[in-house]
Structures are given as C-alpha cells and as structure tokens.
C-alpha cells in the first residue's frame, strides 16, 4: 500500500513566512514583552531547523511548532518572577486592530495556563483534545483552564466597566 508522507524542506524563509506571525502573536500574548517573544520565536525556529523533524502533514508541523514555542515561553516565564506587561500603547506597534486593544489587554493579563488554552481554542481554533495533545495535559485540565480563563476574563472586564479602571 502506498503511504503518503508529507514532506517540506526545512528552510528558514519558508517557515518564518508560514508560521512566523502565528508564533509571534502566541508568544507575545503569553510573555507580554516583544523582545522575549522574538527570542522565543527565534529559538523555536532554530530548534526546528536543527532537529529537522519529520511530519505527517502541515497541521502536524504547526502543532509541533506551537508545542515548542509554548514550552519555551513557559520556561522563560518561570525565570521572570516579576510579570512584565506590555503597555497598551505599545500594542499599536504590533496589533493593527486598534478597536479591540482593551480586550487584548485583558487577555494578556490572564495567568499563563488559562491564557495559553484560550489562545489555542479561540484564536487558533484547536479542539479540546487537540490542545491536550499539544500541551501534554489531560482533556479535563484543558476544560478547567478554559473555564477558569473565561471566568477571570469576564470578571476583569466586568470590574473595568463597573468601576471604570
């Protein structure tokens, strides 16, 4: 039986063009610091090009890159005890949709674990079981983090509208 194997040349130009912005936005939202986000994306691509892993298809390749990038971000967060936060005015440098900068700001202030799960589910469109595989956690942990993230997000948004801060 003929087995189809997805194959793509591990070249820097192609992967940065294809996945650069996707990984950068994930890393920026997690790390809240553009320099750290750039470093995390850079490290992810270097790991990719050094290891040259084999993938079944482009979705497999994308999920692998997200796993490496989110792990890199988690390691970087671990050593940054003081949470750095990107000033909302600086968001305009990277986000072209300025209407919803306040929503983005709320998302970035979430704790890392629920934030990553919300990003993968609502922004990248992954299902619960797919996120569980990418992050190597259980499906119930994904559901709990989704629920917790939604709760915190709603609460912080409600407080801002109520008290105007």
């Amino acid at each position: 039986m003929l087995q189809l194997v997805w194959s793509a040349e591990p070249d820097a130009e192609r992967i940065v063009d294809t996945y650069g912005n996707m990984l950068f936005r994930i890393c920026l939202v997690i790390l809240c610091n553009e320099k750290d986000a750039e470093d995390a994306v850079q490290d992810t691509f270097i790991t990719y090009l050094t290891k040259s892993p084999a993938f079944n298809d482009s979705e497999h390749e994308k999920a692998w890159l997200i796993t490496i990038a989110t792990n890199r971000c988690k390691n970087m967060r671990r050593y940054n005890i003081i949470r750095k936060h990107l000033d909302i005015n600086n968001l305009q440098l990277y986000s072209k949709n300025d209407k919803n900068h306040d929503l983005l700001d709320h998302l970035m202030r979430l704790p890392t674990k629920p934030k990553v799960v919300l990003l993968l589910h609502y922004v990248e469109g992954y299902k619960v079981d797919e996120i569980a595989k990418i992050l190597a956690i259980t499906t119930s942990a994904v559901k709990k983090r989704l629920q917790r993230g939604r709760e915190i997000l709603r609460e912080s948004y409600r407080k801002e509208n109520e008290y105007g801060f």
Partner: protein, 246 residues
C-alpha cells in the same frame, strides 16, 4: 465577552518587517551543519561506553549513597496514560502540572482542604527484587481522585467513612468527583503500584505558596528483607512543582 473580537485583535498582531528579517537571518545561520563522519563515530563509541557503565551502575543520591532503585514522577491522563514522566535525581526536575486547576471549585466537607495545594504528581519506583514500598510525607497528604453518584454525594456518613473530605464538581455534570484522603503515609506492593496511583496535596502558607520544605521518604523493602530509602525534596516554582533527591 466577545471571543470573536479577541480573536480579531490577536490575529491582527504581526511581526515588524525588521523583526521578521532578523528572525530569518538568525535562523538561517543556525541551520544544521553537516556531520563529520569520523567525529560522529567517536561520539557514538563514547556514548556506547557511557551507556554500558550506566546499565551496570546503581542509582546515587546527592550524598553519594548507593541505592538500587529509581523513582519517577508523572501525571495521569483521563485515559490512564502517564504524562510528563520524569526520573527524579539530585538535579532539580520541574514538573509543570496542574496545581491551580482545583482552586475555586473545592467544597471542603471536613479537614483542611483550604490550606492544601492539590497537585497531579504521582510517583513510581523501578528496581529489582522489590517487595513493598512505603511513602511518607513530612507535610500534607496523599490523595486519590474518586468518582461517585448524587446518591452517595448526599450521604454524609458514607463520605466521611470513605474519607472523601473534598468534593469538586464540573458545572452541568451529573458526575461528582471527590478527593479521598489516603493519609500522610501508605505502603504498596511493588507489583501493585498501578492500582494505587495517589497524588500529593501540599500545605501552603495561605497565599498558594509552599511554606516549609516538604520531604517525601520513599522506603523500599526488598524480598531478601533488606531495605533502602531515598528522600525527595518538594519545592515550588511559580505554578510548577519541583522534585529532587535530597
């Protein structure tokens, strides 16, 4: 909360052109270098010799004490698979596990649930001729996740008899999940470790931070009557738990 708007805002984030060029340039520089065949063979030989030494070598604690068993830590997925499996050594192993997932949803029936950080960490021992293993915690409790029905949920006597002191429940679920208290120590037969997968609940200082260092003593009794012990130190790093041999 409009998640479509959040999605629009996040997907509009892009790298600047200068940043994109930098990433391309730096990634290209670090591309795989061709492997020198001769040095590869030398490295393979060195690795082979090292592997041969390691296979025959007993396990060492930090104090240099020799033991004949190794301890691994892992989390258990819903379908019974082990996740994040890590061998515990004298080097710190950080395990990024769900220490926060049970917060805000715990209903304490009795006991001190509010003062415990519930982790998903489980331990397993590997070695030869091991009869039983006894784990002892210097602080906190070993716990077991259990599932029960509404009928059992309303039977307070049954809950107390089973030592189910804490209850978590997913909203809109008919299934009740409980945390059963196993105690600060338990003994398990080596061949029955799979049937007694208990995780660890650690006391915190009121701000979700581990107060004092917690030590887990893992005492192994061999079939010839001899016994050995390794101590594991548990520490906390942000929202992860670290384990290392003391």
């Amino acid at each position: 909360m409009d998640f479509e708007k959040i999605k629009d805002a996040v997907t509009s984030i892009e790298m600047s052109k200068a940043m994109e060029d930098r990433v391309k340039e730096n990634s290209g520089k670090k591309k795989t270098v061709p492997v020198n065949d001769k040095s590869w063979i030398s490295a393979a030989c060195a690795f082979g010799i090292l592997l041969a030494i390691m296979i025959g070598m007993p396990y060492l604690t930090k104090s240099g004490e020799v033991t004949n068993f190794s301890i691994t830590a892992y989390a258990l997925s819903d379908d019974g698979k082990e996740l994040n499996t890590t061998t515990i050594t004298s080097e710190k192993a950080t395990i990024d596990l769900a220490t926060e997932d049970r917060m805000d949803r715990i209903l304490s029936i009795s006991g001190d649930g509010a003062n415990l950080i519930f982790t998903d960490i489980r331990l397993k021992i590997t070695g030869e001729q091991i009869d039983t293993i006894t784990y002892t915690l210097s602080g906190g409790k070993f716990i077991e996740d259990v599932v029960f029905t509404y009928k059992e949920y309303i039977d307070r006597e049954w809950l107390q008899a089973e030592k189910i002191n804490f209850i978590t429940r997913e909203p809109s679920s008919d299934e009740y999940q409980g945390i059963k208290e196993v105690g600060s120590t338990y003994t398990v037969n080596y061949n029955e470790q799979e049937n007694h997968q208990y995780s660890i609940a650690i006391p915190h200082n009121g701000n979700e931070v581990i107060g004092d260092d917690v030590i887990i003593k893992a005492n192994v009794k061999y079939t010839d009557g001899n016994s050995e012990q390794q101590d594991i130190m548990v520490t906390q790093e942000l929202d992860a738990i670290s384990l290392k041999l003391k």
